[in-house]
Amino acid sequence: MTKRIFKNTILIIFAVIVLCGVFIIGVLYKYFNKELMDEMHQEIRFIAKGVELQGMDYLEAFDGMDTRITWVASDGEVVYDNQVDITTMDNHSDRKEIKDALISSSGKSTRYSSTLSEKRVYQAQRLSDGSVIRISYVQKTIFMLIFGMIQPILILIILALGLAGFLAYRLSKQIIEPLEQIDLDNPDESVVYEEMAPFVRKIINQNSQIAQTMDILKAQQDEFKLITENMQEGFIVVDRDSKILSHNTSALRIFNAEQNVENKKVLMINRTHEFQEMVNQALSGVHIERIIPIGERIYNIYINPVFADSGENKSVAGAVIIATDVTEREQREELRREFSANVSHELKTPLTSISGIAEIIKSGIVEAKDVPEFAEKIYDEAKRLITLVEDIIKLSQLDESGLNMAKEDVNLYGLCGEVVKQLTPVAELNNVSIELEGSTAFIYGVKPVIREMIFNLCDNGIKYNKDGGSVLVSVEDTAEETLLSVKDTGIGIPIDQQDRIFERFYRVDKSHSKEIGGTGLGLSIVKHGALIHGARIKVESVPNQGTSVTIAFKN
């Protein structure tokens, strides 16, 4: 700014100097020229008078004077010159001033020297004898005049430069200082000069508008963040180069990623081929959804492409990745599938037997004496079917309304006694002894369910026992818990299958399940019973040595 003002000031000063100079010199030069002419005219009239009166004598007095005086005869021959030797001078009859004087008694002319450095002004006057007297002055030309003024002009220019610099500095400072003083974040109209006020006003208005818009945007962003942050689902937005633009904390947890993944490739959080392929497909514009395991858990990953423009030329601008934890769902689904398969199988087996036997009887190939035997088989299978359905009903009751069943104080020891008594004949049949130890202990629970649990545990203890083995039922009341444990000396359960025995229809030894009987639901019922009583189950088992199942009811 200062520079521009300086340049302009200099330009103006120069223009003024030049114009003034030209004008003044022009006017003055003309004026002095006229003065000179008038003076010379007077002078030549005096000299002419003198020469007419005294002749050559008069002229001789001018020898060596500044003013050059020449006397030319009427034929053009130079008769006298006070500065130049007349013998060297040629005929002057062709000079303009002489010619004019010979014709019209007086003449004048101006001639420039060859270098234009000076000019000669001549005036001539015809005398009465026809000769011509001429005077001439040497005058500096206008160029020499200007040339002679160079020094003062230079000084003037230097002064002008200084002045212009100073002015420019001051002016620009005056203009700029208030501008610099404006605090653009909080402009104040009063600080600046009038002309700037509208701009400042505009800035103030726009500032407040921007602040408002920013507030709205920030509020929206906060809201967005709040929503995504509290999402259980992992949420990631990537751009078209698969760089992460935004994500929530859940996403970091799900993909087991470190902090600061923003602006890094999505490859950094999961580099499996499958996931990369999904991202690439989504970025080519296809919605994709797949279930993939990450670590221990299973996630349903949706990736949706985001398009930049709608309509004809739409291009993918990025993609949104959403990961939902479906581990439980998948596991439940798996269990459900297994359960329905098992139920159908378990129901079908006795029915097939019944139907087969009935078919044989129907065809009449069975002799009358054998019918009771077949009837017994049908009866057995039907009973098995009934037990199975009963078990399933019990389980579904526990599933449906287990928590709402009426609870009461139950004498656990007494209940165990009843069950042991009930099972003693069965135990004797299997050549297994069953005993009860401990003391009276009360728990708060659902009596039929607890009875069912004890029955199932003892029944298992007897069924999966060895010839001559024993089952020991004990009830122990500790300070915190009431422990019910059923310990047998049976075939035991291999370590890797101990987690699975509570699953519905799970059988450790699948090949002998039919001989032993049972539905495969007993321990499932125990587990559910424990669940509604908030009790803990502990299984200790050594293959071929025996199993001990302990249920700990909280006091």
Binding site: E258, R271, T272
Partner: protein, 212 residues
């Protein structure tokens, strides 16, 4: 010019992670197939090995391109030269996985699940490969250090298997061939662990610029 360089380095980084991910997948699937006795995997394993080889060549080309056109210095130079070394280790991991897969043909008739030490070896080597690649992705020197120290565990397990097998062969010389296959598989896992250690060392080098 500089922007092109940044882009090339990024490309190198991405390709390296992808190659690492392939190795991880290869060893995971190989272990699974080995213990399940899945002979069908042999062919798939060779396809994966070829993919890994192709990755190696591609990354070599990227590195050469960077060397020729950009003349990297300091940490960039370290990164590129470490990448060149890492890919040869990764390629060897791929080869060894394919070699293990080849053995499935001879071992599938036996129940491989029984051999706890071999299982432990495979799990350890797999974890080491995972952690080595992860340490590169996260530039995590600590994790790289963990990989290096885990190598001793694998070495010990290998010695353990070797000692046990001598006894097994003595007990039942008819099964000798199978036990030799087992020792070879163990050796492959031990080599894979060594390569994972190398990768971890290169990761450390590319970050701190020193090799121990």
């Amino acid at each position: 010019m500089r922007k092109g360089f940044e882009k090339q380095l990024e490309e190198l980084n991405v390709s390296l992670i992808q190659m690492g991910a392939l190795c991880e997948e290869h060893i995971a699937k190989t272990t699974e197939a080995l213990f399940a006795g899945d002979e069908n995997f042999v062919e798939a394993s060779h396809v994966m090995e070829e993919t890994i080889d192709k990755c190696e060549r591609d990354i070599e080309n990227i590195c050469m391109g960077i060397f020729l056109k950009q003349q990297p210095v300091a940490s960039d130079l370290r990164q590129v030269s470490a990448a060149l070394r890492m890919i040869s280790d990764m390629e060897r991991i791929g080869d060894q996985c394919a070699d293990i897969s080849d053995m499935i043909r001879y071992t599938s008739s036996h129940n491989m699940r029984e051999y706890e030490s071999l299982k432990a070896m495979s799990e350890n080597s797999k974890e080491m490969v995972n952690n080595a690649v992860e340490s590169y992705v996260r530039r995590d020197i600590k994790l790289a250090g963990k990989v290096m120290s885990q190598d001793d565990v694998v070495d010990r397990l290998f010695d353990d298997i070797k000692r046990k097998l001598i006894g097994y062969i003595a007990d039942d010389p008819n099964q000798g061939e199978f036990w030799i296959d087992v020792i070879m598989i163990a050796k492959y896992f031990e080599r894979i662990a060594d390569h994972a250690t190398n990768i971890a060392e290169w990761v450390e080098y590319s970050i701190i610029g020193e090799r121990k």
